[in-house]
Each structure stands twice: as structure tokens, then as C-alpha cells.
Symmetry: C2
């Protein structure tokens, strides 16, 4: 039985291309004591992988992928063989060894949260793949941003960038559920319509249509109190200008710079932090795994009651993963980009 | 009786020059009801004034000074005439209408903290000018940075930039009093000696001697947990690289960019905020006036007991204020730069 894995074929320059990747088949070794074999069923396609395709990654981040190295990413799968007392064949788990058909994981429950360690998933009637999306990593990133970093309150005016994306769409809707006024931005008119109609945001704009500052002045004439940043670059600059005194910024990513091989200069108006007493805080959801149960309860309730919605774009088969990545980074779709392997379950 | 005021003669380009200012004498008008006339005795020479000498100031900041307009800044003086029931002749007050011999202020105690409103000073045996320094604005800026923004604890390793300056020297010593390991940087070897010998810091380095990253690696091989920033530019970039996960940055200024007419790009490595979950917060002491009594008690105790020290460089006479400003921005002296008017009291 062979294992197909998506590997880095060459170092991408600028925008990602499907030819930057190869599918390579390798034999599957026997399990050691404590290990489990997982057949992946869903792959999460996330922007942050782009960072690891550069020859260098930022200090403190995961290391760069070498040419020929298999990609890694969040995935969901079924235990098909187990030499761990903690996992039985047939159980559903999430883990970080995606972009391949089969993953061998250390089943030791003691390594929970570690790189490659599986987490048992009990779907409670929700679609399994939501545990990569609104009830998984996307949900936790959004929940932590809203509740821990920004601490959104009813009198806040929150600008959410990339509000049609997997994380942004949840941030925007969770902030709205907390009573805040929410302004969303996205990169296509059709997405802007979706923000207003499907998510019911208070205002939305196409960040490519006009200078950001003009759009923000129109949507929030008295300024914003909070900005959720997954874009960086000119978005962050505009937010610093639009924020009121005492404002807050949560930073979960900087997708505008991910294609750049060289470091991108920061905003020229960072002094606004001082002149307007602004707090700016970066974070990664992985540091907040202890909040997963609270997130799943809150987000799960909203989803079950139809108060928030979650959109997906599903690509089929491992060989479609490069196209899924390119489309996701290009902003082609609304919501979460996923790859389904084998029959969808 | 004429009033001499320091006015902006021309818009400075690049580094400040003494010829950028004029002393202009104007008549003194009669007091209106509620007003007090103050004879200034001490002027505080602060880097932030440089920001207001540009044709534009950052959004949220004080407006730019016009050519010919009198400068303003923190000052200490004696009430010499009063039509306010709240202030008697002979009382000592601090206020924001410095850079002149005489200031007319609205004595209404209800406007406490407003632009130009006086604050009564009772020196309790401390030198009067300390109420512009360690027991005034410099002290409050340092105290808020240490206690509210950074929340320094004993296991912290704190890098303080401009640690020989008025604010930095207090931040470094207050952080040490709280048990933290403190690394100070300054721009001259003699200042570095002072940081080690007079302030007893754990480590210190000359930021001009070597690349900042090298110095920081040597002084804090395991990284820093906090950075106090009054410099910006390359200092901020180096701090983002040197901070450990979960680190914090307090920003009270960005003196490295104050001479630049055009906006200065921000750090290229701002993504470290995300990869290392860093919180970065700007502030101005003026928003924390309610903490002045607590600050005066804590800092006053340390000063009285000789646990922290405060250095001053005093220039004499209003006409020396331009030279004082140039020297302060050039980093010529250790501690606070002041101008004494008339006989020192």
C-alpha cells in the first residue's frame, strides 16, 4: 500500500503556481508501539502554509519546507490501524499531517497539542469537516481574536479585513453576535454582497474599489474602535489612521505580504500607537487550545441556531490541493477552502 | 511689563538648529476673571515637542506649530497674580505653557488636566523641578510604562532604550526595583558606564557600537520578555527579533524618526507579532493623570531612600532653550534637560 504525499517541487517566486508542487508516492512503514495510522478524509487549506514555502521563515515561526519535503497542514481522518491504547480503529481525529493520503501519528494522548499528535473528534451531529473550520482551527482563531485579544463589546465599531475568508467571516459574525457594529472588507463586489446579505454586517466595502481611507470614512465616520487584521500592509496603515483613541488591533496574519520573498516594510504611521494609545497584539490560535471547548460550545450553538453561517469551497482529491491553495491565496472563494479525499464523510 | 516667548522662526529641516527659534517680546494683557498669572521658573525640555515643529503632525496628536507661534511645553512657575479663588499668589504650579517668562492660565480647578490648566505643586521637601521630572511627567510616563503597560514582574528581562534619558532612566530603575533583569542601551560609552555604575543595571550597551542584534544576543542570550521603546526605527526591529514568545512592547515615543520630514517605514519584521504572540501598546502619560498620586508616592519613596537616582542638565535663561532642545535631541546629556528661568528656586 503506497502513500501519496504532496511535496514542494520548487521554491515559488511571487504568486503560488500549481507546478510548485508534486505528488510523490512512498511506501508506508509498519507502526511502532503507540502509533496510529490515519486515512485522511479532509485537508484544511490555510494561508499560513505560504509562509513556510519561502527559503526563510520569521523567527519564532515554523521552519521553512525544504525542496522535496512533504507539506504539512491541518487535516481530519479516520484511524485505520492503531498500536495506541488511546485510539481505536474507526475513530475520527484531527492532526497536523495533512497533504497526504495516510499519516502515521504518535497516539500518546500525553503529547496532545504537539506537532503531529492527533485530537479525537466527536462530531455531535455537525459535519465532520467543520472541525477544521468553524469548530476547529478557523473557529478558535476567530473566537480568541474576538474574546481574548479584542474583547469586543456592544459599543465597539469593528473593522474586519478579509471578512469573506474562513477566519474573517467568523470574526465578523461573532463580533455582531456580541452586539458590536461590524464593518467587513473583501476583494470582490460579490463578496461584499455576501457580507451584507448573508452575514448581515452593518457595512462592507471592496478594498480594491477605492482608497481604504475613503471607504472607512464612509462606513465609520467617527472612526473604528477595533481592527481585526489578517492582511497587513496598506490595510494595517489605514486601520491605524481610522482607529479612535484607545483602539485595539488583533493581528492573526499578514496575507498581503506572504507572496513577497523579501521582508515588507511596516506601516509608516506606527506612531499612531503612541498618539492614540493603541494596543496591537499578535497571536496564534495554537497557544489557546485550552479555549477549544468554550469556543465549540459558543460557535456550535450559533451554527446550530442558524445565527452564524459558514461557507466552504471543496476541491476533490489530493491532486487538486495545489489548485485549492492557489485559489485560496488568490481570494477566489468565500469561506473555507477544503480538499476532500476519497468519499466525503 | 513685557513677556518674552520663544517662537518658531522657521520650519526646521532635518536636525534642529538654534536659529529655528526667536525670542519675541509681547505685552502682557490684564487677567480676566478666573485667570492666574504665573512667572515660570523651570521649563521641561522634551523630545515630543520636535513632532509639533513639522508642517503636519500624526492624526490624534497635538497640532503643528505655525511659523511665528509661541512654543508650548511643560513648565513650573509661581503664581504672581490671581483672579481665581483656587490659586493664591506665591503658590507653585505646573502647567503646559512653558517656553515663556509669563503664562496666563485659566485657574478654574475644574479644568484640571486640560491644555494650559495649572496643577498645584506641594514639593514636600523635594527639589521643585523634580515635579517636571521624576515626580512629574517623566515619572508618570515611566511609571505607567512599567506598571500599566508592561506590568514588569521579577522574572522579566526588560530592554530599555534611551536608558540614560529622562524617562528611560526611570523605567530602567523602576523595573529593577520590581526585581526584573534590566538591560539598558544608550548612544555613548560614557552613558553606558553610567547605566552600569550609577543605575546598577544588569547589562548595558552602546547602540552605535555594534549591530543591535549582536549586543542583545550578548546581553540576553535567551531573549528579552519586554521592550520599552522611546526610539522606534531599528531599535523596534531589533526588539521584535529579540523578544521571546508572549513578549510585550511599550511605546512612548519614536525619537529616531522625529527629525524626518517624511513618514518613516515601520519595521519589516512586524509579523513577529503573530509568530511570537507579542503585544505592543502605545500610550501617552497624559491619559493616566489619575495615577499621579500613586506614582509620586512610589517614586518619591525610592528617591528619598536613594534607591533610584535622577540626573539633570540645567540650562540657564530663556534664550538658552533652543540650545537645550538641540542638545537634548542630540543626546548630549544624561537624564532630564531643563531650563531655569530667573533665580533657581
Amino acid at each position: 500500500m503506497g502513500n501519496r504525499q504532496l511535496c514542494l517541487a520548487r521554491r515559488p517566486e511571487g504568486a503560488l503556481h500549481v507546478d510548485d508542487f508534486d505528488v510523490v508516492e512512498t511506501p508506508v512503514r509498519r507502526l511502532a508501539d503507540g502509533e496510529v495510522l490515519v486515512r485522511n478524509t479532509w485537508l484544511s487549506i490555510d494561508p499560513s502554509l505560504r509562509i513556510r514555502l519561502h527559503a526563510r521563515t520569521p523567527d519564532g515561526y515554523l521552519p521553512p519546507l525544504a525542496i522535496g519535503e512533504p507539506l504539512a497542514g491541518l487535516a481530519l481522518g479516520e484511524v485505520v490501524d492503531s498500536r495506541s491504547p488511546d485510539f481505536a480503529v474507526g475513530e475520527l481525529v484531527s492532526h497536523t499531517l495533512g497533504y497526504r493520503d495516510l499519516a502515521i501519528l504518535d497516539g500518546d494522548a500525553g503529547t496532545f497539542g504537539g506537532y503531529g499528535a492527533p485530537t479525537r473528534i466527536v462530531p455531535h451531529g455537525f459535519p465532520a469537516q467543520w472541525f477544521l473550520g468553524p469548530l476547529g482551527s478557523s473557529g478558535l482563531t476567530a473566537y480568541v481574536g474576538v474574546t481574548e485579544i479584542l474583547r469586543v463589546a456592544p459599543d465597539d465599531t469593528v473593522w474586519v479585513s478579509a471578512a469573506a475568508g474562513a477566519v474573517g467571516s467568523l470574526v465578523a459574525q461573532l463580533a455582531r453576535q456580541r452586539g458590536a457594529t461590524v464593518i467587513g472588507s473583501a476583494g470582490r463586489p460579490s463578496k461584499v454582497d455576501h457580507l451584507l446579505v448573508a452575514f448581515g454586517l452593518d457595512a462592507a466595502f471592496d478594498h480594491r474599489a477605492r482608497p481604504l481611507t475613503e471607504s472607512l470614512e464612509e462606513c465609520a465616520p467617527e472612526g473604528i474602535t477595533m481592527y481585526f487584521d489578517s492582511v497587513g500592509g496598506g490595510h494595517l496603515t489605514a486601520a491605524l489612521d481610522a482607529l479612535r483613541s484607545g483602539g485595539r488591533i488583533a493581528v492573526c496574519g499578514a496575507i498581503s505580504g506572504y507572496d513577497a520573498g523579501a521582508p515588507v516594510p511596516g506601516p509608516h504611521n506606527l506612531f499612531q500607537l503612541v498618539s492614540k494609545s493603541i494596543r496591537m497584539e499578535g497571536y496564534r490560535a495554537g497557544s489557546f487550545n485550552h479555549l477549544s471547548p468554550a469556543m465549540q460550545e459558543e460557535v456550535g450553538d450559533h451554527l446550530a441556531a442558524g445565527r452564524i453561517r459558514f461557507d466552504e469551497r471543496v476541491f476533490d482529491g489530493l491532486e487538486s490541493a495545489p489548485a485549492a491553495m492557489v485559489a485560496m491565496l488568490h481570494g477566489d472563494h468565500i469561506g473555507k477552502t477544503l480538499v476532500a479525499l476519497g468519499e466525503r464523510n
